[in-house]
């Protein structure tokens, strides 16, 4: 069930636009924030609120990089594997993250805190190698910096 507050906020937003479905990404992101990922229930709720079919929402949810249709950790790490980050050490950064979190790419750490996913160029080529955690950028990365970032996030969790 969606909390009334969230539902009302979304409904207010929807009432304000000419075409409800133009808000589909906003709605998916909001429900994802609430549930932790875009669950089946969230897909149906998004569809119902926007007058779309669940299938239409599903088509979009699986299309976009930042919509997660499977459970993810509290912190989603998107590590950039495009050209400049790749030249500047993506492989070793990725391997270090895998080792530190004891997961493979695509996996979630045992404590449920971190999910590691690759992502295409995030537009921080002047700070390569870089990554995003919950859409906040970090870079240029070194193993030492990664230790600090992960520790800080663990302590805040």
């Amino acid at each position: 069930m969606l909390p009334d507050e969230l539902r009302e906020a979304l409904e207010k937003q929807i009432a304000h636009v000419d075409h409800p479905r133009e808000l589909v990404v906003d709605a998916m992101l909001a429900l994802q924030d609430h549930y932790g990922y875009l669950s089946d229930e969230a897909v149906e709720q998004t569809a119902a609120m926007l007058g779309m079919s669940a299938l239409e929402v599903e088509e979009l949810s699986t299309f976009y990089t930042f919509i997660y249709r499977e459970p993810v950790g509290k912190y989603v790490i998107h590590v950039c594997d495009s050209l400049i980050c790749w030249m500047d050490g993506f492989e070793s950064i990725k391997n270090y993250l895998c080792q530190k979190l004891d997961i493979e790419v695509g996996g979630t750490s045992a404590d449920g805190l971190f999910t590691l996913l690759p992502v295409c160029c995030i537009g921080y080529c002047d700070r390569a190698p870089a990554m995003l955690i919950n859409r906040k950028v970090y870079g240029p990365l070194t193993p030492g910096k990664i230790d600090q970032i992960l520790e800080k996030l663990r302590s805040e969790a």
């Binding site: 133009e22 808000l23 976009y64 990089t65 930042f66 030249m87 295409c120 002047d126 859409r135």
Partner: protein, 423 residues
């Protein structure tokens, strides 16, 4: 080092976002005042057209011409869309602009909106730029409070509302027609014109879509005139300045505003702090991932749209990615192709099927399992991708095609040695 005029990045300071008051102190919103008080809609379009401002998102489409294609009797409401979906690898100028002076692009959107009588403005932004989206939302509110947005802008009859639209994140959303679908809550497949978006865009209504950097120039063109803008370039074929993003094997990667037409060698040696210690320039991608490798023989090329076109390349977004003698360009092309294969929207067969096929052949070559026969297959595949539905696929094979054209020996060395010579 020569000091060139800074137009877009004039008041750039580290970690500082220019406030509305700071922007106003430096001539901000003067262009909009002049627009509303002194100029008709067609005057504005005429000035933009005469300035030769070419779209800075990569396609270099003439901005004035685009504005002209909105018919004066076209239906209302009309839309003005700012493309902040900066997803071309190597490119981060729009991010820098948003974080330096968000009101400049906002003013540009209002001026362009006025010229086509748009009532609705949208800034489409990628999810990786969430901090930028928040900045823009905050500053749009301040602009409205100051009377630059909303009803009766600066006492005129013109009204415009601008909203920020967050993307869910996919490269194809940067393509104009795919972005329109994304904005309408549909799967972001590209659409082939006609009808053109300026005739039937969002919800079948006239829509003009341009890049952040393109909009940011508009207030300056209105204030200082088209001839001033043209003269900023060092070449006759160029106009204005350009924000070049430099990354790779240089000492100071970053975004630098320099005259259109400046030589590549000057950008690298003077502004990017030269090549890294021990590194020699081997090649660069001059304008993002969907341009071709530019070999050393063009190290002194004048960086404008025409000069790059003359050598069979493109200026694209002006994102220069620099490679040195130790960079394996087969491996780099494999990385780029991997990117394109993953980001292909999958709508048409040549792109969806062709890119993974090319990636697999390149991976085999890179890993020492390549055969001489792969080269003509790759050449053929490169050609085939030009028959894909949209411009994404020809861009996606630009690195491959230039690799085979300029660095064939390097590809062949992989095949003959049955290993990557760089590892």
């Amino acid at each position: 080092m020569e000091t060139y005029p800074q137009i877009l990045l004039e008041n750039r300071k580290p970690d500082h976002i220019n406030t509305l008051a700071e922007y106003e102190q430096n001539g901000g919103y003067e262009g909009l005042k002049a627009t509303l008080q002194q100029h008709s809609e067609s005057d504005i379009i005429q000035m933009i057209d005469e300035s030769n401002l070419l779209g800075r998102g990569g396609a270099a489409f003439p901005t004035g011409f685009k504005l002209k294609t909105v018919a004066t009797d076209a239906p209302l409401p009309r839309y003005i869309v700012c493309n902040a979906d900066e997803m071309e690898p190597g490119t981060f100028k729009d991010r820098v602009l948003i974080h330096t002076n968000p009101h400049m692009m906002i003013e540009g959107i209002i001026i362009a909106g006025y010229s086509i009588k748009a009532e609705k403005g949208i800034i489409f932004i990628r999810p990786e730029y969430e901090s930028g989206a928040k900045i823009l939302e905050r500053e749009l509110k301040l602009a409205e409070k100051a009377g630059y947005l909303g009803k009766n802008i600066l006492g005129s009859n013109y009204a415009l509302e601008i909203v920020v639209h967050r993307s869910g994140g996919r490269y194809i959303c940067g393509e104009v027609t795919a972005q329109l679908n994304a904005l309408m809550g549909k799967r972001p497949n590209p659409m082939q014109p006609p009808p053109y978006p300026t005739e039937k865009g969002l919800w079948d209504l006239p829509t003009v879509l341009s890049n952040v950097e393109t909009f940011a120039y508009m207030p300056h063109i209105i204030r200082h005139g088209p001839d001033w803008f043209k003269d900023l370039a060092t070449t006759d074929t160029g106009a204005g300045t350009k924000i070049f993003c430099i990354s790779g094997k240089v000492n100071q990667p970053g975004a630098y505003e320099l005259p259109m037409g400046i030589r590549l060698s000057e950008i690298i040696n003077e502004y990017a702090g030269g090549m890294l210690n021990g590194a020699e320039f081997k090649a660069c991608l001059p304008g993002g991932a969907s341009t071709g490798f530019l070999p050393k023989e063009h190290y002194n090329i004048e960086m404008d749209f025409e000069s790059l076109k003359k050598v069979g390349n493109r200026l694209g977004t002006g994102a220069i990615m620099v490679f040195d003698q130790h960079t394996c360009l087969v491996d780099a092309t494999l990385n780029l192709t991997e990117f394109f294969a993953r980001e292909s929207c999958g709508w048409c067969t040549p792109c969806r099927e062709g890119l993974p096929y090319i990636r697999d052949l390149l991976a085999r070559i890179e890993n020492g399992d390549g055969e001489q026969d792969f080269i003509p297959i790759l050449e053929d595949m490169g050609k085939q991708l030009w028959s894909a539905y949209c411009a994404y696929a020809p861009g996606a094979v630009a690195p491959l095609q230039s690799l085979l054209r300029h660095f064939r020996e390097e590809v062949e060395a992989h095949i003959h040695q049955k290993a990557c010579p760089f590892k």
